[in-house]
Symmetry: C2
Subunit: 213 residues, 2 copies
């Protein structure tokens, strides 16, 4: 697939490398390709960088890997090239302005994914992968669950197929982007679990009671 990854932080970089390594044609959108290329962490990268404007042109999938506070502004720069595209939103509305643990800048009666869907009504937003650290996104912890939420069934299928190609086997779909509220509100527990577990390399599995034999 042709995949445009928006965002050059650790999540965007990890995911872009993983997708490129998996044979996808990847371009990474950034405000200033020259400045990004000059940063130390990009020095040994052979990823293609491009300006935000129009970076979604021709993409089969766009990944929002920006920080939550900068998401709407960043996607605004990408502009009309987002129309009609499947946008995999892996970001979280984390607010670190009060320190750690972060709080949520939107929650409960709204979500960042819904804000994105409202701002880009022609884009098919799918929330997924936001509930885990970047390395787990690409290399699932066996037996654990990944959620896929979005209004458009075909867009959910595109994302689900990609997830299965990473090795995800236990997917749970929500037929509405509104479910992103629950997915994003996982983060306050996630950050505290990282503290007591001493590692970000964990995930959850949903287990339903088996009917008695």
């Amino acid at each position: 697939m042709r995949i445009s990854v928006i965002g050059t932080g650790v999540v965007g970089r990890t995911l872009a490398h993983g997708l490129a390594g998996g044979g996808h044609d990847v371009v990474v959108g950034t405000r200033s390709p020259d400045e990004t290329a000059a940063r130390e962490e990009w020095s040994d990268s052979n990823l293609r960088l491009a300006p935000m404007e129009g970076v979604a042109d021709g993409a089969d999938l766009v990944v929002n890997a920006t920080s939550g506070v900068g998401t709407l502004e960043a996607l605004g720069r990408v502009g009309p090239s987002l129309d009609g595209k499947v946008l995999l939103d892996i970001s979280n509305p984390l607010d670190f302005s009060r320190g750690f643990p972060p709080t949520l800048s939107v929650k409960d009666t709204d979500s960042l994914a819904e804000q994105v869907q409202r701002a880009f009504p022609e884009t098919r937003v799918v929330k997924s992968l936001n509930m885990m650290t970047a390395s787990v996104m690409l290399d699932p912890i066996p037996g654990t669950t990944v959620f896929v939420a979005g209004n458009d069934a075909e867009a959910r299928r595109t994302v689900a197929d990609l997830l299965r190609s990473f090795g995800w086997e236990h997917l749970i779909e929500f037929p509405s982007i509104e479910a992103a509220r629950g997915l994003e509100m996982w983060l306050p527990l996630w950050v505290r679990l990282m503290g007591v577990l001493g590692t970000p390399e964990f995930n959850l599995r949903i287990v339903t009671r088996e009917a008695p034999a």
Copy 2:
């Protein structure tokens, strides 16, 4: 143990019956024992009912099984008999005033459990069991996780021992009641999962990546 259960809804009733069946000395606090006893769902119950006032006297453990919107008022009626007690808070701040799914009346920068802890500073509040349906509390889904959060280590141990007596094997402790924020913010995802799974009989398991051999 002598256990006082506050609340006569389905959660309080289920838990009180389960605890009594497990050999504990259970009393259920209610505003009006006579009115509660006259309700159809209590007609075949042999549970002891008592007025809220002083119902925690002599208890080894108090369980808050009230609805979140009524918790502070109900516990206020229980009054000074809560001082020094271990209070297992299984309630959730669910607000159904806008319909289903419910929203949260407190979240993110505070939690119902912290409100209770602030209102009753001499009580040792432990948040647990709020993330699942009542039948799962008493009969764990094998392999799944239960969280225990509270400021007081001995109080957490009291609750953890009780949970193990129910059959819980995978416990994760948080050394601060502040972690209840994360535990309560699970509910928006829980109610949506109940919708897509078609059953409330599920729970999560936290799985950490195993180190490569």
